[in-house]
Amino acid sequence: MSELLQQVINGVSLGSIYALIALGYTMIYGILRFINFAHGDVFMVGAFVGYYFTPIILPLVGGSLLLGGPMVMIASMLVCSLLGVTIEKLAYRPLRSRPKLTILITAIGISLFLEFGGQLVFGPDPKLYPTIIPSATIVSTDTLVITSNPIVVIGTTLLLLFMLRAVVYHTKMGTAMRAVSYNHRAASLMGINIDTVISFTFVLGSSLAAAAAVLYSSVYPSINPLMGIMVGLKAFVAAVIGGIGNLGGAALGGLIIGITETFVTGYISSTYRDAIAFGILIIILIVKPSGLLGTGESEKV
């Protein structure tokens, strides 16, 4: 029983990280209707920014993790927002009116560029991520050990989710975002600056990915330039499972993937870990292509 509880806690912790990344996919898909393949690699850059900034930031705050941890996360979020907006401006914006396939291929190109550029800049070998979450054991019995790591991950995720909700539903920019995702043309006729809204969406998505990266690397401290591929793909799968374009769906999908993956690793075999997300994806797409919480769109002829 307590082993089950342990697995659930680990699963929710991993799932909330997937959820944060999935939100970026889902928001960008909601507005631009394409898979931002490079999102997983923005996540990777986020991890490396955290890696390089921690030794700079921690001494500034006297080595206090309680103060330094959030600052590292914010630094990483800022850098990644900049990266996300730059990618959108340089690569996606000129292609906005072109066929979707063209943008998809461009996104794959950008993704490969970040991966292999990352290998050049950061070096191809895995690096050990510094500890930025204060480690403590919160509950400890014979069979159940709950450390501060999953609690911090889940707590931070919840906080970010509430902030995102507030931004999307209670600010002017959030309203504009929803309007643009509903109808580009009509939104622009209402005086909404589409370019600004899209840039803002990339800021939100990329900074969530960066936050996820800092949390993820604290839990799995080995980081490398190709780490974003699998995590990104699974987070994308999470977004699709929940119903792409739907914020709650992305969070739900993330949890489903995280928990399933932890259970498969714990009870079946860790070698099947990477296949399970895709298995779920294929089943969902065949049974309910619009995802669990998504609403189907019928194609206009």
Partner: protein, 325 residues
């Protein structure tokens, strides 16, 4: 709809004969060059078979390396059962059968992967096929009789210039003929607009299945040729990056242009070898090239089919003019 390849069975036969002739002198070729030549052939097969799925039928697939893996592993397993010695007549006589086993198995999986394409389109299909490719890789990794993550060793080395390049000739011949046939028109129709195609009485499900099964069949054969050349295969050789490499060849060559795809496969196989001295920049250049092509010439370097045939016609005309003068 022209494919850019002259419709000549003589060209096909000539190509097979040349590849046969080269086989007799292949021992005198520098082993490194020989390896590059064989990889060029295998990549031409992969890229032109993918161009049928991604280009002509418009079903963007990111799982081609998965089909290649199935062909490679099936053929390796079959030949471990039936081939006892690498030399001699027996291995050579059985090789077509071995290749076919890889192709047929991949083709069956092609049908399986084609199935979701009825319900899933565009980038969703891309991610689904990518998922299939990954699942295939992970499953192979867990199959002990195929060597698991350690890989499949001591596959007999049977592939040579003849086998590889006569297959190249066959694949290019078959695909450029499919594309020219009424089937080709059907593929083009569903890639342009599926709903209109359906309205015109085209059974889009059947066409998609055919594209996936045919493309996967040739990818499986390419995998079989590869396995019987390198003699050692392991699941990580058939990852996501491998699929991307093949996709890049199709995109650079032009989605609707087999001649362009063949040229792209040749150039993009040789180029990385030529760039060896700056190997670490290779993939960076590759990825930038992909972005720049999409931004400037989304129809591929070799342009649309029409532009390419125009260029070819002009070239031929200029030769003709010189001949007259």
């Amino acid at each position: 709809m022209m494919s850019g390849i002259p419709n000549s069975r003589w060209l096909f036969i000539a190509f097979v004969l040349i590849s046969l002739a080269v086989t007799f002198v292949e021992d005198s070729i520098n082993p490194y060059f020989f390896q590059v030549i064989i990889y060029v052939g295998i990549n031409i097969i992969l890229a032109s078979s993918l161009s049928l799925i991604n280009g002509f039928a418009g079903q963007f697939s990111l799982g081609h390396a998965g089909f290649m893996a199935i062909g490679a592993y099936t053929s390796a397993y079959v030949s471990s059962l039936i081939v006892t010695s690498t030399d001699g007549f027996a291995a050579t006589a059985l090789f077509p059968l071995i290749l076919l086993s890889g192709g047929v198995m991949a083709s069956l999986f092609g049908l399986l992967v084609g199935f979701p394409s009825f319900r899933v389109k565009g980038d969703y299909l891309a991610i689904t096929t990518l998922g299939f490719g990954e699942i295939i890789r992970v499953v192979i990794q867990n199959l002990d009789f195929l060597g698991g993550a350690r890989g499949f060793t001591s596959i007999p080395r049977i592939s040579n210039t003849f086998w590889v390049f006569s297959t190249v000739a066959l694949v290019v011949f078959v695909i450029s003929n499919i594309v020219r046939s009424t089937w080709g028109k059907g593929f083009l129709a569903i890639s342009e607009d599926e709903i209109s195609a359906e309205a015109m009485g085209i059974n889009s499900a059947r066409y998609k299945m055919t594209a996936f099964a045919t493309g996967a069949f040739f990818a499986g054969i390419a995998g079989a040729l590869y396995a019987h050349f390198v003699t050692y295969i392991n699941p990580s050789q058939f990852g996501f990056i491998r699929s991307i490499e093949i996709v890049v060849m199709v995109i650079v060559g032009g989605m609707h242009n087999i001649a362009g795809v063949v040229i792209a496969a040749v150039v993009l196989t040789i180029l990385p070898e030529a760039l060896r001295p700056i190997a670490e920049y290779r993939m960076v250049i590759y990825s930038l090239m992909l972005v720049v092509i999409m931004l400037t010439r989304p129809q591929g370097i070799f342009g649309t089919t029409r532009a390419f045939t125009d260029w070819r016609r002009k070239l031929l005309a200029s030769f003709g003019a010189k001949g007259k003068a």
